[in-house]
Symmetry: D2
Subunit: 365 residues, 4 copies
């Protein structure tokens, strides 16, 4: 089940960076839902290279061809397959990789697992390019969730040493849309400027830098998720760690709560103006005991610095079993965190749609 996830909605991702095509099969979509192609393309555009000065030069059209599962503009209920044909591949850039694995990439572990048979070019199946497949699926899930007034949004919360404000207690669809429309996905554009400077600085030093993405989801009723190993945190973290470069996931107050007192981070219950139960704060991130409590979902995802850097690095020659130095050429993002913002949204939307189908069953039955 390596490149798949989901229970009632299953997502199967295929493709290698420099192979014939990449894509996704989504099984279990509800039937009869109109899918807007332009809205999907707009979502895909958010993760594509060439968006801002901070991204690589590789700029593919990434036009997905839908093979099945959509008829006359609506989902049919049977599996949706979309394929993107790879166009702009420069395999020569990666020849050195075969023998001298790039530090902190999956070259070496893929070699250990598949004995040299994997398609290493461009990172193969581990390439960030594969997140386009995830975004196709996630973009469709977002459109379906919107019919239930559920929205997912994310922003860059940190790049290097630049930290921006967190989402407010109650983020809105309008805020999500505003961030999504920006070339650089932040709440506060001044913070965004400083983040971009941090990224450009890293690039100018032939280096890269990490970041943190904050994600929120609104409109989710209380009661989704199961106890113990199938709660919302379990479901989300399993998928979020499938995004390349993610090395940490925290919900609500997260790691910071280690240094805090219960009296400070317990979320007191209150009655809202509408007469519903809510919490005054949201250190729980909308999840208690694995189950949603009706508050916005809130979590953060840590992305390590892009491992591809232009500085010479120490590695080994697997054929000669001796240490050597590797200097990477080719196009590399000095930071992947900003491009990963819609990817985190996509992964989240898919988990939420699966959870909706689990909680509410099939629509017509």
């Amino acid at each position: 089940m390596a490149s798949q996830f989901g229970e009632r909605l299953t997502v199967s991702i295929f493709g290698e960076s420099h192979g014939t095509g990449i894509g996704v099969v989504i099984d279990g979509l509800p039937a009869g839902i109109p899918i807007s192609e332009s809205e999907l393309l707009a979502f895909l555009a958010r993760r594509r290279g060439g968006q801002s000065v901070c991204s690589t030069a590789r700029a593919e059209a990434d036009m997905p061809q839908i093979q099945s599962g959509v008829y006359e503009g609506k989902t049919t209920g049977s599996p949706l397959c979309a394929v993107i044909t790879n166009q702009d591949t420069r395999s020569k850039d990666y020849v050195a990789v075969y023998d001298t694995p790039r530090p902190s990439h999956a070259d070496y572990t893929a070699y250990c697992k598949w004995g040299g048979a994997s398609d290493f070019r461009g990172g193969g199946h581990f390439s960030g390019r594969l997140t386009a497949s995830l975004c196709i699926a996630g973009g469709i899930a977002k459109q379906i969730l919107a019919q239930d007034e559920i929205a997912v949004g994310a922003h860059l919360a940190q790049v290097g040493h630049v930290v921006e404000d967190a989402f407010p207690l109650y983020p809105t669809k309008e805020l999500f849309a505003e961030i999504a429309a920006k070339p650089f996905p932040v709440i506060n554009d001044q913070d965004g400027e400083r983040m971009q400077q941090e990224i450009m600085q890293a690039r100018s030093e032939l280096d890269s830098v990490g970041g943190i993405i904050e994600c929120a989801a609104i409109g989710i009723p209380a009661g989704w998720g199961d106890p113990m190993f199938d709660g919302m945190e379990n479901r989300l973290s399993r998928v979020l760690f499938g995004i390349p470069a993610v090395k940490g996931v925290e919900f609500g107050g997260g790691f910071a709560m280690a240094a805090m007192r219960g009296s400070a981070v317990n979320d007191p219950f209150c009655i809202t103006k509408d007469g519903t139960v809510a919490t005054v704060t949201n250190y729980s991130g909308g999840i208690q005991g694995g189950i949603t409590n009706g508050m916005p979902l809130r979590f953060r995802v840590a992305m390590k610095p892009t491992p591809s850097i232009a500085q010479p690095q120490q590695t080994v020659s697997l054929s000669r079993m001796e240490e050597t130095t590797l200097a990477l050429k080719g196009r590399h993002d000095p930071c992947v965190a900003h491009r990963a913002v819609p990817v985190v949204e996509a992964a989240t939307a898919l988990v939420l749609l699966d959870s909706l189908l689990i909680a509410q069953g099939e629509q017509n039955v």
Copy 2:
């Protein structure tokens, strides 16, 4: 699949804090492995209440009765079920919970999900007591892993504002055993003293405090785990978030890498004295692209402060739908992080044994 996990080794946990019994079914254990009962009990003792001054007064024997799956001291290959009969239950302490959910507990979300039918007493199925079931399974998994020279260890890395040293680059079985033998699970006992003071201070202020557990695993060959959504990070995080109070999981350098450069956190490859490939540092936590690289696994788990505190807290009456104040009585740990150390080890051992069975297949076939 709420209270279950695993693919080739499945673990199904049952029980409620104040019900008849709690326990676990483990399916898929390899056959013919001797299980030491005394070793298992010693492991279980590590999580039990009454260990140190920092724990609750509830002190159950937690003697598991094995119903099946062990014959003449060895695993049989068929499912192992162990049951612990609940003895020391004081249900009266929890009567108020029914109508006035405790802040940051699962009372309210269980109410939303199950419409008031759940067994709320003592937290019901969400109680930390259920981690005894996980520890039975994990304690058995540890014994089986030991046959392959695989060991798992953990320590308290932080409580409140007290931070102790991380594991060394290559932790050893001896270090794990040394920590396991201590009444308070730290590397440095002076740090442990300060942590216990922090906990006692919180208790004296009718409050609680959070913590961070660092866990490592050694002896794991390169090549375990699958790409994308079934890598080691995915498998581990899914289970770790099933431990009550866990709100964050990070691997290797984790969240701190957001502020760091690639040149600082990329793990250079080297050739060890034994002639094998290793990395000079371990910011990857032993996992690249979801797959083990032969280095020790290394990750950290954030635990929020115990939500049960003796201070009055704001909540709502669900029957009257109005705000009110709740003052909890009963026995509560001012910190759960130290007791959760073996629980994190147990969860990890189970994921590792499952991964071993996936990678290496069945033993006799």
Copy 3:
């Protein structure tokens, strides 16, 4: 996932015939459903030994002890575990089995799989005794399905050369109840007499005989089940083949349709008096394309003759690797088909409850 099945409702069976206890964990039960213990015991009594002249002498009380998941007589939503303590075990009867596997039992394959470590006594985990665990779970599922007016019934359709009538096009709850109340589960008692004679005849000749069980389920709405590999036939067959001695499963017209014409077995659609769509015949067994069509579910299960017979049989000595002769002693049913009737109902009820939860989601969310 050997001894488990189910997606939203998971059933995990444990135990060995002569071990400490056997039982089951059911996860995913809806909450707040009253469970009648007397009704459950009445259902369990139907499969127990000693019911009729045709069964073995082993007569255990099979009183399940519920450990969790039921509070004040109602399901709590968290996993239900029930344990039956084994009482009447005569292990000496089975000593010979270790070295000389019984023909057409699982002794040899268990030996191949588990290298001699399995608990062979009484068939170990493969014993028909384990179907008591399945019946506990199924008996509970039947009570929950009854709340939605869904009923499952079965009868012996064939024993040896004695064949009785099939269920009518529209079987009723009353018919199911009538059969369930009989000591020998047939529609027509004269057929039942002849079947019992066939069984007694086999016993008197130190032999055994096979049979066929027909099962039906009513009250199921159209639209349950998924296409291809997760249709109702797929879900049911996977579980039915988990019942010991089952070697065939057919739906609706089944194997007989191989010799028939489309014009004879196509089910014409009609409008019923109630104004709903139905089919005039039911060769589809209530399932088309894997999905229920609103007609009664109808299928048949083939049971091989009990492999335990008192005649001498050829086998091999695994230690000496030479052919030898085995004469079984101990108590053995000359036919298991009649005792398997409630077991087939139990398996069916569990698959149907899982399908209900998939189709209709969680009750309170």
Copy 4:
């Protein structure tokens, strides 16, 4: 998980009969295995229309385009996606289907499930055409199994009233190859002639006829499969019932054993000339207690008559909710059983490869 199956090897099928394309994603293939395209095409040709006089006129090239997972002719270890573009579609033939569901097709149940949103043209996702996707995956699995000397073969055992001989106790690769090379897949060509006459007779009477396929697999070691719900019978039946028109599955002696005695169908153990354990007969079909015993796997699959017949049939108008008559036009096979022979082989090969990976683990780890 509707259109998916498998545990370590997962197969996800997508496509609708008259949509843009159909295909399959296979995840978990071992890496570095050479795939012969010509061998694959030869296998696909066996199920394609236009093979014999008994098949429909629709004759598509069915040339699969591999998108990923193969590099320089070998599997890479990451998911293999293959797409077949639909070419020869005549949607007008199916317009009537929308309102008046075809008896014993999935039109009505798809309507109930998806509320009219499904792509009904040509049977949509339920079309027999989708078995091409299964055959792509199965053809690849057969090539990989061949490396371990495991072979799968099948033949038509019955069409209408014409029954041919069963496989011998030990079928050979040569026999499988001989049958596979024939235009009509039987052991005895005279039987095949009579079967074809039966089919042509049905067609001439505007009718269709059913059949039975016998399948065998050789080279499988003892010990594959798990007890209870994950045995080989469970794994195989779940997938076999995913083939359109399959209504029954039986292993070894199957339904016929209901009328037989244990003394007749118990498989005595013996020592072969090679000094290994075998059974004298194979009524168990190579499986005891769900686990392989080293004998050939042997089972039979019942296929109902093609539901599409040219005779007028009674149905209902869903819009008017009244009974009416439907006369199907278009191209229809009067029998699907002969074309389903390679499909049964494909499904079996995939289950066996999954079981091999479960039993033997990953190759390079």
